[in-house]
């Protein structure tokens, strides 16, 4: 069973719950609509508590674009928004389903202790 002490530990130290997988976070951020770099950083910060650095973000954007999982839109002044492609949505869904199974199994094991 999950004890209140475990919950308190995570709440007292937010860094314990951070998740960092920049390409997946970028895909997840774009899942609800196109965004430019700065908006992605803010959104990812809200999603998982970790704001990726600009270098990390554009490293992930370059590789996701190369895979055809995201695509650029017309620039707005000097900022360029990106949107997720159909293939990117399919990949994101598959990875999140795997993560969901993993999370469920991990939490069940913790609660069985």
């Amino acid at each position: 069973m999950r004890s209140t002490r475990d919950v308190a530990d995570i709440e007292e130290d937010p860094t314990l719950g951070h998740y960092s997988d920049p390409p997946l976070l970028v895909l997840a951020s774009l899942a609800n609509g196109p965004k430019h770099g700065h908006a992605m950083i803010e959104d990812i910060g809200r999603l998982c508590g970790t704001r990726p650095g600009p270098g990390t973000l554009y490293g992930a954007i370059g590789r996701l674009e190369q895979q055809g999982w995201i695509e650029p839109l017309a620039p707005e002044e000097r900022r360029r928004p990106y949107r997720i492609t159909a293939e990117g949505s399919r990949v994101l869904r598959a990875r999140l389903c795997t993560l969901q199974r993993f999370v469920r199994a991990g939490l069940e094991r913790l609660e069985a202790r």
Binding site: P23, G37, P54
Partner: protein, 227 residues
Amino acid sequence: MNTRLAHALVCLYPGGWRQRYGAEFEALLIAGPGLSIAANVVCSAAREHLCPARGFDLNATGGPLHLLSARAPWALFGLAPVLLLAGAYTIASLILLSGWRIFLPQASSPFVPVHGTAILYFGVGRLLYFIAPLLVGWGIVLVAIRLRANGPWPVIGMVTIALLGGANQIMAARSVPSAMGHGRMHVAFELSSAASCFGLAHAGTLLAFTLLPYVLLQAYRVRLTLY
């Protein structure tokens, strides 16, 4: 962030990457929090040089090194490193030979204790002699990773350089046994030396220091291409 600093940070990236993302990335940096993100950008720029995203690397679209890697990998990863190593050994030998004549005209060998300025002079030659195989080996690693060369030639080149580095010896002698004769120096590659424990250990160490970064960078590159 300061506009000039942002521009300088963008300049750290490869040309192809800058053409594609430079303007929007610079705008993002200018709107960012400042120096605290500089380290993140520098590390990412280094990664783009080592493992560039496909399609944004000018070398990967027909640069001379890429063409040479595709058409004559033996020349790029085999012949060129050996020639570079030979050049480095020649320069090291010339430094030692000139130092022998300048600082030790009476000595029968340059491999004797020296003092003062001679320590620095001989030190440069010895440093070049000992690190040349490592520098050439790391050069093979960087070029192979940068060009995404997957064939056996980079490893063959590294093994060749390590064996040459482990087997070579600098020999010095005077033409007349007395101290009045002219000094001669040459680099020799002796199989007996390579077969000895010391030669093999030296070659093995050189190979480990070049092959290990190569394997790690290849693994890192494969991890990046999973996305």
